[in-house]
Amino acid sequence: MGTTASQLGKDLLSEYQELTFLTKQEILLAYKRFSELLSKDEKYVLNERVPMDRILTLPELKSNPFRKRICYVLSTSDSTNGSLTFEDFLDLLTAFSDSATMEIKSHYAFCIFDFDDDGTLDCGDLEKLVNCLTGETDETKLTAEEMRQLISNILEESDIDKDGTVNLSEFQHVISRSPDFVSPGSTFIKWIP
């Protein structure tokens, strides 16, 4: 178990390629980045869990307002501490990669937005979401009245069955109509002349 390639193993690598939307180079790069997050004495990268704090030091996640949610959602840890294994990390990357399908993206997006993990986006979730998007500072925060208005508008639009919450299928419906949700992480014109 010395170099990167031998540690990942050919079979495992091809399996990962099969199961994710990442290419070989990307997986190797991810592996490198991930093993950098580990401390020196943790040699068996595949089995290690990296605590959330250390994952959040990645520049890609540093300024993302949903960084904690992302970790929680993708973590397979028992104790819901947001720690990630390498495979969870790959899950994260594939969910955010350009070529991931709409279904995967909307599913994870929904999980990320669902702050209390109850399977629907209710008013509380939406409020938290708005707060995440507008930042923590006071000058950018919306007032209570604006918040109420905004959330009622949102529910009015998307809550098809009028139960006061947005569920996954409603969410997917809304999202699939959006011109912007080729992202997160989409590029706009591909290099194919």
Partner: protein
């Protein structure tokens, strides 16, 4: 969420049922534990079995339960199979409780929660996984609903023997919550595995189907939102399964072929993957762009991706012109200095190597493969007999055709990707869910993004609140008209200026360039570049008058700049056309002169010595025509060069120098330069994209007359890439208003298409209408440039081909063909329209149905609640009166109903499964046969004292009381 929970309860029972049916196909290690639990269940079950039988018939009328007999049936089938398969005493033992449980599955509603728990335990044990992803177990109501629908649909449709296929479908279709089904699925497959050789053909068919399903599953696996570990396990199992049985499937002759096919497909897959990897490895500048993406968000990065895309296109154009035109001519054509068109004239020879001349693409540069005039009209060159003029012509046409193809294809792909976002009905939701740019990795950019999102929210709220209110509409209108007027003035002014300058430069050119200063020589290009630089700023100032929403303002701004550039370009072209006409007049004069000169030459030589060999004149001395094609090519090359220079210089001065000044003067200045007035510059995405588009337009326009243009452009783009990447990272700050890129995506592509069309228009016009120069270029001596095609047809192809071609190009054939195409376009358009309408219709239907369902469920829940209260009252009142109930069975049925009602009710309140409270509630009801009302759906069960249905909640008591009195 009463609706969901109601449905859920049904659904879960279905699952339990299935599980009952299938778990006979065991995991041996865990059988014991399950078995024990089952016995406990069985006890409960046995008690109630009697009721169940009686109820069976009436149940069938219920909507959801229609499918149940089938399921039970299936369960039995499974059991019998498992019975055969399991050797030993265990099997018999097991089957007994299972039959019970299968038969009495409906009563499992009570024990459902137990079941769920059990299931979970089993899963953990079976998978050895233990770690279910956080939040996974909490099922989303949506997925439940969906599953319910899917499940229902399939059970209606499918025959019991197609169990497996159905389940597979389920797995595929209900991916969000697939865990249970999947486990079942595997078990079923394992059960099938027994002995492939001994199976009958029907079973073999089934097995084949299973293998195919597995394969499909493997392929679809990456698109599932499951943790990778689970995917891994499934993948391995499926692959094992497929490998194990794939070979066994084909028998005799077929087997070898089949195995070979499998092997090849595996190899092919691997090759494809490697190729994909290779392809991504070949994409240049990926890391650079990713870095910019994370600093500035996707909109700035989109410019660089666009740049890279352009680079790709130009690379291909360059390969075409370089490989098929320039290299053959340079290698196989006549070398420099052999014929007049390939030689610098004597008069220019002295200055031909001067840098100033070369910089202007005169001198040696003019008489080289870089320009049209150098090419010889020799039909075939070199030992390859390369058809040079034909190749030149076809490459010119191919360039244009290829560009059209690429642009349109990209547009179509973009439209496909984002084409669904047709209406604005989800304005707020989109703002909410999709506004964050996940590529941002820079705190500063993130702050800007926060601010811009907040403003967009506030704007949206304001818009919603006072969409119709407008303070002073007349003033705004006046200002907008004024602004447009000013912009029009600007455009007209700039157009006139260019025309004026071009005319003046023609005068200078007639006088001879040497007599003028550098400025006068380069006036045209400089004026064009300067206009392109300053007019957009002017427009920006003017647009402040208009008071548009920023997004609208941006589009106006882009439109104006587009108009400016286009106007300038076309003025330039018109001026060029003037010049072409001048040159052609000149050419006629020179032609005449040459004949005179030749005649005089011959006369002179003849008179001196009649026996001497024909005189050899140095090619440099031969008088020659002005060759307007080369002139056009030169103009374009100069334009490109000056454009590039201005871009780079603006970049250096406007961005770099400014950044340096701001950075270092800030130490000794009286106000804060960084935060205050000059500040650092932002990266102007739209301006840069427009610049790129126009540059490309010029390339398309001039490429026919100057084959070197694509090469130049590749060079320029390459340098731009590095220079701009550097400039952006070192001296720009993130934008105040961070737009997301994908919105304006096809807007830019549409502009590119317009430019492509407008730039090929003049090029094609000149090719088709103006006869080529008589003494330069590959088409010299022909009436028109496209005559080269006819010539090739006549001399290189058999006669019949030419005939066919001439028939095919007959207007009588071409016109109907075009008509047909127009009709096809019309047809396709109308079908797409009708599809859109159908889509809308479906959407509406869905909405109304949802609302209806919602209403119905709410009503049902309300009714159930009322009934329950009624029942409570009733029970307390009638408890003492009630001495002899109609029958024991009735009592028990009522009890059953109580359980169900309470359970439903409870769920509808909480939206969660709460087993304990269900029990408690159930426990509250005495078994004394209290008159309990039922919800409407369960009313028609045919119990003696009840009418088939109870439309009102007060009715039960009314009907019940008489029956009581009777006793």
């Amino acid at each position: 969420m009463p609706q969901d929970s109601l449905i859920t309860s049904e659904n879960d029972i279905d699952l339990v049922l299935e599980f009952e049916g299938d778990d006979s196909s065991y995991q041996k290690e865990h059988r014991r534990q399950r078995h024990r639990e089952k016995r406990v269940d069985g006890d409960i079950v046995r008690r109630k079995r009697g009721n169940e039988r009686r109820k069976g018939a009436s149940r069938a009328e219920e909507g959801e339960s229609q499918t149940r007999p089938e399921r039970i049936d299936r369960g039995r089938r499974k059991r019998t199979r498992s019975h055969q398969d399991t050797k030993g005493s265990e099997g018999d033992e097991e089957v007994q409780p299972k039959i019970q449980s299968g038969r009495a599955a409906k009563t499992r509603k009570h024990t459902k929660n137990e079941k769920t728990r059990k299931k979970e335990e089993e899963e953990k044990a079976e998978k050895g996984e233990g770690k279910e992803r956080h939040g996974k177990r909490k099922k989303t109501s949506a997925s439940k609903k969906e599953r319910e629908e899917v499940g229902g649909k399939h059970t209606m449709k499918e025959k019991a023997q197609e169990v497996k296929r159905k389940k597979h479908k389920r797995v595929v279709e209900t991916s969000p919550e697939p865990s249970e089904e999947d486990d079942i699925d595997e078990e079923v497959d394992e059960e099938e595995e027994v002995r492939p050789e001994s199976l009958s053909s029907e079973e073999l068919e089934k097995l084949k189907e299973a293998v195919d399903e597995r394969k499909k599953l493997i392929q679809a696996l990456r698109g599932k939102p499951w943790p990778i570990k689970k995917k891994c396990v499934i993948l391995r199992e499926s692959q094992e399964f497929v490998e194990k049985y794939e070979g066994a499937l084909g028998k005799g002759k077929g087997r070898k072929l089949y195995a070979y096919k499998v092997l090849m497909s595996k190899k092919w897959m691997k090759f494809q993957r490697d190729f994909e990897n290779f392809k991504t490895a070949c994409i240049p500048w990926e890391m650079k762009i990713k870095e910019i993406e994370s600093h500035f968000g996707s909109s700035v990065a989109s410019y660089f991706i666009f740049l890279r895309w352009m680079y790709g296109i130009n690379m291909i154009l360059f390969c075409l012109t370089f490989g098929l035109v320039m290299v053959p001519e340079a290698l196989m054509g006549r070398p420099y200095g052999t014929i007049p068109r390939k030689t610098v004239p004597r008069a220019e020879a002295t200055s031909a190597m001067d840098f100033a001349v070369l910089w202007d693409f005169g001198g040696y540069a003019q008489y080289s493969v870089l320009f049209y005039g150098y090419y010889n009209n020799q039909r075939a060159v070199g030992w390859l007999k390369f058809r040079m003029p034909l190749s030149y012509f076809l490459v010119g046409v191919g360039t244009v055709a290829y560009s059209y193809m690429v642009v349109i294809r990209t547009m179509a792909r973009n439209a496909n990707e984002s084409g669904v976002g047709d209406d604005n009905s989800f304005n707020f939701n989109w703002r909410m869910f999709t506004s964050w740019d996940y590529l941002i990795g820079n705190p500063e950019t993130a702050d800007n993004k926060f601010a811009s999102i907040t403003t967009s929210f506030k704007e949206a709220i304001l818009e919603e609140q006072e969409s119709q209110k407008d303070d002073n509409i007349h003033l705004t209108r006046f200002l907008r008209v004024l602004a447009n007027f000013l912009v029009l003035c600007c455009l007209a002014g700039s157009g006139y200026l260019i025309y004026f300058v071009v005319r003046r430069s023609q005068k200078f050119a007639l006088d001879g360039l040497e007599n003028h200063t550098w400025w006068e020589r380069n006036e045209v290009n400089m004026v064009m570049s300067l206009l392109g630089m300053f007019c957009p700023m002017l427009f920006d100032v003017i647009s402040a008058l208009e008071n548009y929403h920023p997004r609208v303002a941006l589009q106006w701004q882009l439109g104006r700049i587009f108009a400016l550039f286009l106007g300038n370009l076309y003025t330039f072209i018109i001026a060029l056309m003037d010049e072409i006409n001048l040159k052609r007049e000149e050419e006629n004069i020179i032609k005449f002169n040459i004949t005179v000169w030749e005649a005089s030459l011959f006369n002179g030589t003849v008179s001196v010595n009649s026996t001497a060999p024909p005189v050899t004149i140095e090619p440099a001395d031969v008088p020659r025509g002005p060759c307007w094609e080369t002139m056009v090519g030169q103009e374009f090359v100069r334009l490109i060069i000056s454009d590039t220079m201005t871009t780079y210089i603006t970049l250096l001065i406007g961005d770099f120098l400014r950044a340096v000044l701001v950075r270092f003067l800030n130490y000794c200045w009286c106000w804060d330069l960084e935060a205050g007035f000059p500040s650092y510059s932002e990266f102007d995405v739209s301006g840069n994209v427009l610049g790129l588009i126009f540059n490309q337009g010029m390339i398309w326009m001039g490429a026919f007359y100057a084959p070197c243009l694509p090469a130049l452009n590749v060079l320029r783009l390459h340098v731009s890439m590095y220079l701009q990447c550097w400039a952006v990272m070192c001296c720009n700050v993130p934008q105040e208003r961070v737009f997301k890129a994908s919105g304006s995506n096809n807007f830019y592509m549409a502009m590119l298409l317009v430019i492509l069309f407008l730039s090929t228009l003049p090029a094609i016009y000149t090719i088709v209408t103006i006869p080529p120069s008589f003494d330069c270029g590959p088409f010299s001596g022909k009436q028109r440039m496209f005559d080269v095609i006819q010539e090739t047809l006549e001399s290189d192809f058999p006669a019949w081909f030419g005939k066919v071609f001439s028939y095919a190009s007959n207007p009588g054939l071409v016109l109907p063909f075009m008509l047909l195409m127009v009709l096809a376009i019309y047809y396709l358009q109308s079908t797409s329209k009708s599809y859109k309408e159908a889509n809308m219709e479906l959407k509406k239907k869905l909405q109304t149905q949802n609302e209806e369902n919602k209403k119905k469920n709410k009503l049902a829940a309300l009714k159930a609640q009322m009934d329950l209260e009624e029942a409570r009252k009733g029970s307390s009142r009638t408890a003492q009166q009630q001495k002899n109930s109609p029958s024991l069975q009735d009592q028990e049925t009522d009890e059953e109903e109580d359980h169900r009602n309470s359970q439903r009710l409870h769920r509808s309140k909480n939206g969660r499964n709460t087993p304990h409270s269900v029990r408690e509630q159930g426990g509250q009801f005495p078994t004394s046969g209290a008159p309990v009302a039922r919800p409407n759906r369960h009313g028609n069960q045919g119990t003696p004292g009840y009418p088939p249905s109870f439309p009102q909640q007060s009715e039960p008591r009314m009907h019940r009381l008489p029956s009581l009195q009777r006793h």
